[in-house]
Symmetry: C2
Subunit: 310 residues, 2 copies
């Protein structure tokens, strides 16, 4: 059974499964586990890892339209290196500060593979769930799609360049790694989530890719989607590092881990939502009747993207 099968199984057991975060009274809570092998490519600094791991949980809080109150992390590694640990904590603290949240520590644990589990809590009186999209609503995304895919290309390129071993190649690799780390440190859309919440009929983050997000919104809200590829805000670096624009588009739609928000917004609320949002909000398509399915430029968009446990 893969992660999706397991999640489907749990939906029958737990009320809260199916949104980016669970809601308890006016609190939201969400947890994630990340591993070196699958989530932190070679070259990811511990500062970036702390930022990104905690950021992923803050993004889930953002997707509920909630304020981010605090975050914790359990940090497991084969050994506790002073500089690595401090860098991790600084990254975790900085991403919290960026979204007016507080990093309040966590647990340390000996483990063979560097593994981080993060939890964020937030507060909202009116959480935005995944199930409210109505035919006619517009589909909007914040920021750009493909930053993490671009970062991964750069991480791989830097590793290859570095293995050439010349001084020049090492300098190039170092600059490339810095750029990759910069791209990997995303801004959790907590502010945008707060401002979109009163306008959005449904919302989630794009952590598993836009395609997967649309399938999840479709399952929750019983609706279809029509997406226009020419409107997608493909990240500029991704366009630069991929061989063709088609390859970039494909990664922007399926790769995920961008932690942008995907929101459905009634047409008459768009202007207000846009003027309130502190980040770019791009209309990429519209909500359709369920029978329409999910399409990209009129063709069926495959349900492919990132699923843990595959």
């Amino acid at each position: 059974m893969d992660e999706r099968g397991a999640l489907a199984l749990l939906e029958g057991e737990l009320e809260s499964v199916g949104d980016d975060a669970a809601v308890v009274d006016d609190l939201v809570i969400t947890t994630d586990m990340l591993h070196e092998r699958t989530d932190f490519p070679a070259g990811t600094t511990r500062y970036t890892a702390g930022w990104r791991a905690v950021g992923a949980s803050l993004s889930d809080v953002a997707a509920m339209g909630a304020e981010a109150t605090a975050a914790v992390a359990a940090y497991a590694a084969p050994e506790f290196d002073r500089e690595e640990l401090l860098a991790f904590v600084r990254g975790a603290s900085d991403v919290c500060e960026l979204v007016d949240s507080e990093y309040v520590g966590g647990d340390l644990d000996g483990h063979e593979e560097f593994t981080v589990s993060t939890t964020a809590i937030g507060h909202t009186d009116a959480p935005v769930t995944r199930d409210g999209a109505q035919p006619g609503d517009l589909v909007c995304v914040t920021g750009t799609l493909g930053r993490s895919a671009a970062a991964l290309e750069l991480f791989e390129h830097a590793t290859e360049t570095n293995s050439e071993g010349t001084d020049t190649s090492k300098t190039v690799a170092s600059g490339t790694l810095e750029r990759a780390n910069d791209l990997f440190r995303f801004e959790p859309r907590v502010g945008a989530g707060r401002t979109l919440a009163p306008h959005a009929s449904a919302m989630m983050d794009s952590s598993d890719g836009l395609a997967r997000s649309l399938y999840q919104l479709s399952a929750a809200g019983e609706c279809g989607f029509a997406v226009d590829s020419s409107q997608l805000p493909v990240d500029e670096t991704l366009l630069e590092v991929t061989a063709t624009d088609e390859a970039a588009l494909d990664l922007a739609i399926t790769f995920g881990e961008d932690f942008e928000l995907v929101a459905t917004i009634p047409e008459d609320a768009l202007a207000d939502a846009r003027s309130a949002s502190d980040v770019d909000l791009t209309v990429v398509g519209s909500v359709t009747e369920p029978a329409h399915g999910i399409t990209l430029d009129g063709d069926v968009l495959e349900d492919c993207g990132y699923t843990h446990g595959d």
Copy 2:
């Protein structure tokens, strides 16, 4: 650097390090990571694992004297087996229900070793920290000490008996395993923590063993402790499964993972604390001046116990 060194390092970085849970406004939040190899002996059912992992975080909430609001878990395993996953969720849900909390799910993740990271949140207007013990206060523990040490003996015994391979030995092993699992499923002392909170000058849980707890309370509160071994509520099963009473006493003091509360209580508040508590509360010693150090029957009690990362 081991876990203690790493924690000491972080105390300079993060305000909240040093208590069982972090406090943010009137919320407490705590996270833990557990691994199959170090925390779940062969024979631990997934029901017990779910109970115990989530229970460990609820115990940290209890140690702050807070109500337990909710808990989440990130569940990582090489594969998602339907029965195992459901058993884990039932264990997690049942332990939450026992303490009037709510299990609200979490994250699923592919990982080589079965690993669980749990987070619990709670609520209190007056958290009890580790730093308030005053000379003259009494040292009290809830319940008994050594349940988990006893469970481990039984787990090991069952594995050995089972490997003999006869039908009789398999039946014996099965009964022993059931008993070990029962002992492993502790009741988080949330109710006791709530009732002790108004009376306790300092409190924490005994997850790293009584000896370690006293050293941690001593470091936080700048005090000493005099403990009387004849007063320690050594678990009956531990006395039964160890060769000598001395061996049982040693394990009861150092093994930990019992998740009982260790509280210091002013003498004149003891009667009220006791009558309010829903579990047995045993006075095991008293708080002394720091120069006294930490003693057991007048001799220095070594600072030994369970430290991750050793």
